[in-house]
């Protein structure tokens, strides 16, 4: 299979990471105001998930960790070289793994689905795919 050029992968990753920062920032702002994100399609899933104990890690809303993760992925997509390729892959792998865990919690433990969390999980999955392609196809090769 022919991979897209590294430039194309980096460009798409830049847009997706920027979008991810927007989604995570919205969740964090909604939480910091004492409320919860508003589910666009209605329902109370976002409120239930935001009120659950899993929405915070060490007292910090996990959306804040999301912002940091997307910011690192944005930086990795803007930079060249093996360090950026490996960092992008590593950060997106952690983000993807954590998204799988959180989605499982929503389905089976919290028993509510937050559309914003699903949106973030989808973006992180796309970023993992892009960074995995970038690493497999281009790591160890000239930037």
């Amino acid at each position: 299979m022919k991979l897209p050029t590294e430039g194309t992968l980096r460009m798409i990753a830049t847009f997706v990471a920027a979008f991810g920062i927007g989604v995570a920032t919205y969740i964090a702002i909604a939480d910091s105001g004492g409320g919860s994100p508003v589910c666009l399609a209605g329902g109370s899933g976002c409120e239930t998930v935001a009120n659950s104990s899993y929405s915070h890690l060490a007292g910090v809303n996990i959306a804040v960790f999301g912002i940091a993760g997307y910011a690192l992925l944005l930086a990795a997509s803007l930079l060249r070289g093996d360090l950026a390729r490996m960092a992008g892959f590593g950060v997106s792998l952690v983000g993807f793994g954590y998204s799988v865990y959180l989605t499982q919690l929503e389905l089976f433990k919290i028993e509510a689905i937050c559309q914003w969390c699903v949106a973030s999980a989808v973006l992180m999955t796309v970023l993992f795919g892009l960074n995995a392609m970038r690493m497999v196809g281009y790591v160890g090769r000239p930037a």
Binding site: S44, E47, T48, F96, G97, Y101, L105, K109, G140
Partner: protein, 254 residues
Amino acid sequence: MSGKSAREARREERLQAEGEGAAQERRKRLLQIGSAAVFLAIVVVAVLIVKSLSETSGGDTSLEDVGLVKRQLQGIPQTGLVLGDPKAKVTLFEFGDLQCPVCKGFSEEIIPAVIDSKVRSGEAKLDFRNYTIISQESIPAGAAAIAAGEQGRGWNFIELFYRNQGPEASGYVTDGFLSEIARGAGVADIARWNKDRKSAAVLKEVEATTAEAQRLGFTGTPSFAVEGPGTSGKKSLGTPGSAGLLEEAIEDAG
């Protein structure tokens, strides 16, 4: 080509081949690191998922009607001990004691119909308030319900408690019983729930709603009141004997 330049060319070829070999070697090493990271991530996520699923399973619970309560409340928003759309213009208040057998009867026979006809549709919301009159044990029970409400499971806790209620003031309301109800109700963070239910603020809330019930002139549980655009403040309903009477009161208050 002279012997010297041929040697130089061979040397350059060798250096180039060595450089390519080193690059290949480096690429192979980095890909190995990436593969190891993927493997490690899969293991960590699998362990986390198995751990969380085993915590939730509750398959060995001896509680009655866990699934029934879950189905009854599925998809209805909960905020604290308020069940239903927070923006619903009519509020039906139930002043109850979790140890009260009449409240259990209401919970099983009358409240489900009101939930289905008026709360699920968003016409009214149902606000449970503790009115602790049976015994001292009603206070920790009510506080436990409020603490469950702080994790979005207040009504699951109340309904499950009623369905597993023991004889009045018989000492069954132990920490173990309350914890079992909380787990069955789906309270996710039991440590936080334990801390919350013993907090001064929560215990004060139980006292405050009991005092409110007395101010409203209620002498038994469950007692109901309704508030909406058609009432001036909370209108006392006493203890209506059917779902139809409660539905009528909601319609009149709307």
